[in-house]
Symmetry: C2
Subunit: 504 residues, 2 copies
């Protein structure tokens, strides 16, 4: 078989794997949205079996031989094909270090831990989760040690989400951010003592059905394609692509419009990335998102940089008044103060964009220690409380508002949290680049036109798939290496605006 | 490896296959209930890949060797294990005649044909479906010829749904039914000329949300377990079990309560069968329903024998009046006339239980000819019209009300339709046996107590899985071989009641 024929065979195989993985994703989506509660055990078994099969396929000796042969002849391939071989080989080399049984055990344990987490959160009882989380951590340690011979196990986990990023880059970004963010959080806390009474307009009563229509309207205007997607509800919002079938979930609170709107905007950002991938490259690395950090940059960009901007609300407010009658006539400035409200608070997903990264810092500190065994699972609730006090100056009222708030650890996602802050960092850099290249975006956004930005993002980032690793992609798009400068500039700017305009 | 160890390995394998099949079922359920329209192509690919994998697993040489070794030593196994080996071997022997590529092509072609069918029905245009249906029929002919060397290809297809039933049994039952049913349909037509004006109480306006609550109430009272199940909506109602996760779909019409209620009752009957299977035997033949005919007997039993009975409505009517205010104070007799309304009509799923079997006779005649190539796909619409005239004395107004009404043929389900009438035949025999053994059921049902009947069905039928083939199971449960006598008695009785009580 010549190299071209071998590559075509690789494509066929990868697309077959992708279809099976899509079945797995539907099992996940359904578990979070529609599955009856008594089916948890069966679902865990289903996911474990499909995950095990995927692992077998991806580590099948004849597939690995094919891949090794292609990798040895990579110079004979054109650049897009070379990307597919390079990235597939990199992942395969990691995978072949991990036995199928360990993969199946991880999937099964994590599915059960997710169920336990739902219950623990409901009961506000860490003990319900503890034994499950203990097993999850133990399996992730084993998994990490399989991936790396003598390197840092945490680095190995991180690269499941952010291939090729050195832990030193993450450490440096967090180092740059830590002090300024703690200072900003302290200022917020001091300011809050002398805060003026602000009449919130986005708190109140917003019926869920009206919020659904409102968020659907926003999604349509942003360019989300409902012919190839849908919006549902789940306890923890997420977005998932089952082929060219992009599904977003959100969570509405009747008493606060911001929860549903900004969850939706965030997840739409992810979905727009997936919609922008090259459909001709389905199932291949060059038709797959670059990394979680880049993914998060897209969600943060729409959620924070666009969704909390003055231009966006100049466009949206009249429509909001139409779909949510209690917002009729609401003053723009009051809305902007509401959506940029910043204060240390216990819940990450509801945190403002300023304190958000401190929540990530906490998790980053704790999960590195969990993996390196400097911290035990049973010490987690207390370590959480201490960390919250140090970073944000507050103590959560309960574990439900503390260590039980996130699904990530029960899902075995260690090394995932840092990609959130990476996303914020990248988003700030990308927005600066976009305005440099397209020109000021605010006037277009005020008119409800998001096309220029969306198409620029598609060309610059989405369509390129895994052509480059994230650090290089960001360098090419923005002209600089990952740096917290743009994010800190943005946050100081927003914070100042907010203090000046009635936040206090 | 000794025989016991081999059997344990078989169990492990079968359960693995079952989990993958459950993933496939979720893909199907989602396709009919929630999938965005643009995802049809992707879904067809997903289902094709998973179906192909299932086929590979089930025809894997080492699995077949294991099975052959167990089959050779079947006398060493205890009776339940022997059932698992016998039934698995029977299916495997059929499967190994069919190449994986043909299975994958069937799955892909059928998924696309189902999408085309939705469109064709929407447009009332058979031409949209024709080329897809042509491909489906061609593949089913090929499939049937693979299954049987010199036997009847249609018999081979039939046994996918009703293992072990001789075509002569079906032929004889239809022979017994044909003339009396055509006569009954003619009587109905003549009577309809002098029909009194009947004031229908179940036609009117019933808001969908209220119908949802009503059907949920009915499901709960019948004993459907919402902890392990749910009810959704789809164009063509169905029930499907994704492990111990039993999902029913129904279809509401705001202008006619009967559509939603009887679709729900029908599908609940299927779901109660699945709920009654032995959970300890998950994934094994003895934990799997016996046949489609027996399955249909359960749906028909709840839909027709219970759901249209006087006792049932004595229980239900007060609750109906509470949940659907327009039914408050409705006279019982008027409701009973409505739910037993009988008249030749073009749509099978809306047909009364009397003319229903004539719809099946038509399909049976046509699909046998399609498979034996006595009839071509393009001749189908005209043959349908002629057959409807001969059997039911009516001509459908359009193909939407004719040949386009069912999803079965686009789904490749040839040999499936006869199991509906088999279900009616079995249901009548089973109901007679139930009343002989439990005593009269009407008094319990009037009190809204369905437990005695449900538990009897569970013990007699559900828990026994595939212990026996359907003919033998029916003989053991009812003491007689399959016979249309009980069904004809029941239909004559209902018909006479209905004529006497204001149907005309």
């Amino acid at each position: 078989m010549d190299t071209a024929a071998r590559y075509r065979l690789l494509v066929t195989k990868l697309r077959e794997f992708a279809r099976l993985e899509e079945a797995l994703k539907l099992l996940e989506w359904d578990q979070a949205t529609h599955m009856p509660p008594g089916a948890q055990h069966d679902r865990a078994e289903q996911m474990s079996v499909v995950t095990g099969m995927l692992h077998s396929l991806r580590t099948n000796p004849s597939f690995l031989d094919l891949l090794d042969e292609l990798a040895a002849r990579i110079k004979e391939l054109d650049p897009p094909a070379a990307v597919d071989v390079r990235e597939t080989k990199w992942r395969a080399d990691r995978l072949r270090r991990v036995p199928a049984e360990l993969q199946a055990a991880r999937a099964r344990t994590q599915a059960l831990a997710r169920a336990a987490w739902l219950e623990a959160r409901e009961q506000n009882n860490f003990e319900t989760l503890r034994p499950h989380l203990y097993e999850v951590v133990r399996l992730e340690q084993e998994y990490a040690h399989r991936l790396t011979d003598d390197g840092n196990p945490y680095q190995a986990l991180l690269e499941d989400y952010e291939p090729g990023i050195p832990l030193t880059v993450i450490d440096q970004l967090f180092q740059e951010l830590r002090k300024p963010l703690i200072q900003l959080a302290q200022s917020l806390k001091e300011l809050s003592r002398r805060r003026r009474k602000h009449q919130s307009v986005l708190r109140g009563h917003f019926p869920t059905n009206a919020q659904r229509s409102f968020c659907r309207f926003v999604a349509e205007r942003l360019g989300f394609d409902f012919h190839h997607g849908r919006i549902d509800e789940s306890a923890h919002p997420f977005s998932i692509s089952i082929g060219r079938d992009h599904r977003v979930t959100t969570r509405y609170e009747q008493t606060d419009l911001r929860v549903g709107l900004y969850s939706t905007l965030h997840e739409l950002g992810h979905a727009l990335y997936e919609q922008g991938l090259d459909p001709e490259a389905h199932g291949l690395p060059r038709g797959t998102a670059c990394s979680l950090g880049v993914h998060e940059s897209q969600s943060r960009l729409w959620e924070n940089f666009i969704g909390r901007s003055e231009g966006f609300w100049r466009f949206l407010l009249p429509h909001a008044g139409r779909l949510l009658p209690s917002l009729k006539g609401a003053p723009l400035e009051a809305v902007l103060v509401d959506v940029n409200e910043a204060a240390p608070s216990p819940i990450r997903t509801e945190a403002d964009e300023l304190t958000y990264n401190l929540h990530i810092l906490l998790r980053y500190d704790l999960e590195r220690k969990l993996i390196s065994q400097e911290l035990r699972v049973e010490e987690l609730p207390e370590a959480w409380r201490v960390g919250m006090e140090q970073l944000l100056g507050i103590t959560p009222a309960s574990d439900r508002e503390g260590v039980l708030q996130d699904i990530h650890w029960p899902s075995g996602a260690f090394g995932y949290f840092p990609t959130y802050t990476l996303g914020n960092v990248f988003a700030a850099q990308i927005m600066e680049a976009a305005e440099r290249q397209i020109g000021p975006l605010s006037p277009q956004i005020e008119r409800g036109s998001f096309r220029a930005l969306r198409e620029w993002l598609t060309t610059q980032i989405h369509r390129r798939g895994q052509e480059e690793r994230s650090i290089e992609l960001i360098r090419q798009v923005t002209g600089e290496k990952p740096s917290s400068r743009a994010l800190l500039d943005h946050l100081h700017h927003r914070f100042r605006w907010w203090v000046d305009h009635g936040g206090f």
